[in-house]
Amino acid sequence: MLRFIIKRGIALVIILFCVVTLTFFLIRLMPGGPFDRERKLPANIEKQLLIKYKLDGPLLDQYFNYLGDLLRGDLRLSTKYRNRSVNEILAQSLPVSGILGGIAFCIAAGGGVFLGAMAAANQHTWIDRTAMLGALFAISLPSFVIGPLLVLIFAIEIQILPVGGWGSLQGLILPSITLAAPYAAYIARLTRASMLEVLTQDYIRTARAKGLSEETVIYKHALRVAILPVVSFLGPLAANLLTGSIVVENIFSIPGAGGFFVNSVLNRDGFLLAGVVIVYCALLVFFNLVVDILYGFLDRRITLYD
């Protein structure tokens, strides 16, 4: 177990190192510097700026200096949002993304499992068919179709919910549903398939033969096993919510890390971009690790190795 965690920890470091290196050099490949404006800056001012933002000197020296700063936990200054450090920007925007993602995570996992279990328990009825048809639509439609359509219906036509923005509880409803919908649908399909398989097993027949109520059989005995494939999807789910939140934050003008990420690409704001990418990748690998460990606890048949 400990060996497993250590090995994955080492893998995390290697992945992060590759990601940092790739991002650093890719940004330098982009034509146009962070200080390019309509009018060219005087040479000495540009030089001062480059020194201030540690963008002077040979590329390799810059790279190793940057790695050094990263090891000290310093993500450097943003070249666009002058005088604000990347650490500061992330400290403000990540909690916003985190709250949105957390709510979406609960909706996707809870709603998906519930719908899937219900569909499986009522197989071949209209409940099953409607749920699965709805799931197929929710999987097929991207969040930038679902999001604006929800806005059009609930915020513009009936005007019961705000169009966007951050700060109110009502303002959280549409974004979190938009973000969660495709994954709730995927989880519902996953749960249904695995539940149908579990329901054919002997121990379920035994439970029914004992005279347990159908609810107890399905939600207590069957669901406990049927939920395993869903658990292994929770890692990728967290990852997808991270990526998905970029679009959703854009649609609903939410001041999360996703908006900064897109702008940093367009503004050639290298250190901010690298900062967001590092944090995203680290979170992702971390979530996957947590899910793998959790899986070992839930399903004793699985032993973790290498």
Partner: protein, 299 residues
Amino acid sequence: MIDPRSPWLTLRRNPAAVVSATILVCMALWALLGPALAPTDAGEVTRNSFLPPSSQHLFGTDLNGRDLLYRVLLGARISLFVGIFGALTSFVVGIIYGMIAGYIGGQVDSVMMRFVDVLYSIPRLIFLLVLISALDPLLRVQMERHGLQELVGYSKIILLIVSLGLTEWLTMARIIRGQVLGLKSQQFVLAARSIGQSHTNIIFQHLFPNLAGVALVYLTLTVPAVILDESFLSFLGVGIQAPLASWGLLLSDAAQVINPIKGYWWLLVFPAAAMSVTLVALNFLGDGLRDAFDPRQRK
């Protein structure tokens, strides 16, 4: 050997798949021929901004007074083109990678599959955002230097196809590898080897025909995935750019101008409908194909 026609028969008995296939063919024809049938000035910028749908402009007009129907068809063309060719690229990469890993097996297999696992854990779209905005200007410069001026406008499309193709192959590789692992221990492969056939021969003549069905299924399911990725990038302003159009770009334009005071609903509804119909149809067809060719994977 199973009757090779039977999967197609199963497919034809699946009404959802048949309807989807018909819709997709119609959509493709419409996208190919539609813009040619439209009046020549349909794509031009005019002063008639935000006209609601009427007999003259069936889908209304956009911010720049362009006919929205024309824009949606243009978007269909580019989105479908990127989707199909991106999926084909990923298909080629995935099938080669999966076959090599599965056929050689052993250490090579485990190293190759570990590499796939690592790639899975990297946020793909986040990287594509950076990669495409870094490479696009470079590609343009290279094209101009080599006298390919007429291609410069399409550099984004080429880049999207290549980069999406080169990142969407992971699932395909895993599935093909699994199939090859199962197939290569079967007796007909042993028989082929025992009469002295070369590895190339075994791969192309014996394994390949048995993989075609499964590969086709995942090719169909990759097309909507690539279309989604393309529209994701275009929505965020890194993919297709005006005057070209893609569904993602049209939706992004719509999302920007729509607000409670000005309900330009047509800007949103028509591109969203075109995209939704196509994606749902592709997924239905993919599910139908999977049920027909690969019953064990049925969900």
